[in-house]
């Protein structure tokens, strides 16, 4: 490999920028004090602490469990909506419009409503996550279903393929990439949204612990947990979604 390949592979420019930012961060923190901006070293120490106590796993797991239910439910309902949109043109219009309305509803609306409906419980962040990710995943699937090549379906008719065969051989493979793309965006959104919803009324999860750290003036922990969030997001993106979409598009 040449020098240029290595530079690209190791993301050297990114590393350089990171180093500059960390240096700037250190200087600013020295100027303004640890409450406003804790030093990089304090944040690292915070990360080491939550690793040693195991807190990092319990809170991350609590957040991920809520996401699994809320986001998982959204994917399930989105698939059903996509199916309805495929089977009936009338349903497609209705589904499309409902998703558009949901899409333009603010996160805060759902947080407030979920607290009214579910009180200070696990179901509040779960419901919020569900309502926010449903339109993202749903509109992707509906777009995928609408984009199924009619000419391929006509080919299926000519060769007298059964309805089920047309579904599994034509509709599913052409919709799957849309579903995976929707899930990728949806999961990122789920993580961001559920963490916000966790500020209210639950006693576990990354959002809860960040807000708690703020209250006890442990700003370095707020930063440490933010780093945890970024790591979770990047890892699922690289390990789960990139792998799945590469497998799905092997034929390209």
């Amino acid at each position: 490999m040449t020098w240029r390949d290595w530079t690209a592979r190791l993301h050297l420019p990114t590393l350089l920028v990171t180093v500059l930012i960390v240096i700037g961060w250190g200087l600013l923190s020295w100027r303004y004090g640890a409450y406003v901006l804790p030093s990089p070293l304090a944040v690292l120490a915070g990360l080491r602490d939550i690793l040693r106590t195991g807190e990092i796993w319990t809170h991350t797991a609590a957040s991920l469990a809520r996401i699994a239910v809320g986001f998982g439910g959204a994917v399930l309902v989105a698939v059903l909506l996509g199916l309805a949109a495929f089977l009936s043109r009338l349903a497609r219009g209705a589904v499309h419009d409902v998703l558009a309305v949901l899409n333009s509803t603010s996160v805060f609306v759902w947080i407030v409503i979920s607290i009214i409906w579910f009180g200070l419980s696990n179901w509040a962040p779960i419901f919020t996550t569900f309502m926010i990710t449903l339109p993202v995943v749903g509109s992707n699937i509906v777009e995928g279903v609408a984009g199924v090549d009619r000419r391929l379906l006509e080919m299926g008719d000519v060769y007298r393929l059964s309805g089920r065969r047309k579904f599994t051989a034509i509709v599913v493979p052409s919709t799957l990439p849309y579903l995976v793309a929707g899930m990728k965006i949806g999961f990122g959104l789920a993580l961001k949204v559920s963490v916000v919803a966790e500020i209210f009324g639950v006693t576990s999860g990354i959002g809860y612990v960040m807000n708690y750290s703020r209250e006890i003036l442990a700003t370095q922990m707020v930063f440490a947990w933010a780093v945890v969030m970024i790591l979770v997001m990047t890892l699922t993106d690289k390990l789960v979604f990139d792998t799945v979409s590469r497998r799905l598009t092997r034929w390209r």
Binding site: R151, L152, E154, M155, D157, V158, Y159, R160, L161, S162, R165, A169, I170, P173, S174, W251, R252
Partner: protein
């Protein structure tokens, strides 16, 4: 397989096909010719049972073709585009159309390989369509149409997207496959040379709304060069007539 097309017509916003009648005996190679937009593809789709006719009827061996219903006869179609599923290998693409015939998986693969070989694609069975050339994709589509051992094979300008050389190769191939399998073929083309080179019966359609202008047996009694000349004159007249009629809907 005997095909009878009697008084078939089709109206969209304007009448496209006025009334077309012709018959093809088993094993005939019929070429449909005519100016652009005279309804050649539409006629083929009506014969294939994809679209209903506005008037008239199509009868295959005594059984009427009813659009959008499962046909009792096996009809293979090669569209203008290959219409292969990009996420399936060539073998699976061909094998897929054998599933409604109740063929087991192993036999499907074997049959698919046999017809891919016939279409000159031996060695490419496990390739995805995106990994082979356009000509090879079109040949795979032809292999797919043949694999069901169709009673009737419909081809809609199947070589339209090919360059001249591949086109000649494919014409020879189709002609050979036709001789080896003895299928009845209806072949739409806008190339007179192509029709004269491969067809046994040439049906020349008139300008829109179309009728049969001329039905010619291409049995070698008329010299090919003269036939090509005559057909060229006819098609020029029809093209002029269609343009003289003004834009559609006018």
């Amino acid at each position: 397989m005997k095909l009878e097309v009697s008084g078939v017509g089709k109206d969209y916003l304007i009448p496209v096909i006025d009334s077309v009648s012709f018959a093809a005996e088993a094993g005939e190679f019929v070429c449909l010719l005519g100016p652009n937009g005279c309804g050649k593809t539409t006629l083929l789709r009506i014969v294939g049972g994809i679209e209903p006719a506005t008037r008239g009827r199509v009868v295959l061996d005594g059984l009427p073709v009813i659009a959008e219903q499962r046909q009792p006869r096996k009809v293979g179609i090669v569209f203008q585009e290959d219409r292969l599923l990009p996420w399936m290998t060539l073998r699976d693409n061909v094998g897929l159309v054998l599933t409604p015939l109740g063929v087991g998986a192993a036999e499907r693969a074997a049959t698919a390989d046999r017809y891919l070989k016939l279409a000159g694609l031996a060695g490419f069975e496990a390739y995805y369509p995106g990994r082979v050339s356009g000509g090879m994709r079109q040949r795979a589509a032809i292999a797919r149409a043949l694999a069901i051992e169709p009673d009737l094979l419909l081809m809609d300008e199947p070589f339209g997207a090919l360059d001249a050389q591949n086109r000649r190769i494919m014409q020879t191939e189709v002609r050979r496959i036709w001789r080896e399998t003895g299928r009845t073929i209806i072949f739409v083309t806008h190339s007179i040379e192509e029709a004269v080179a491969i067809g046994t019966t040439l049906v020349m359609l008139s300008a829109r709304p179309s009728r049969v202008r001329e039905l010619i047996r291409n049995d070698g009694r008329v010299e090919r060069a003269k036939l090509v000349d005559d057909l060229n004159t006819m098609i020029m007249e029809e093209v002029e007539r269609q343009q003289g009629a003004g834009p559609p809907g006018a």
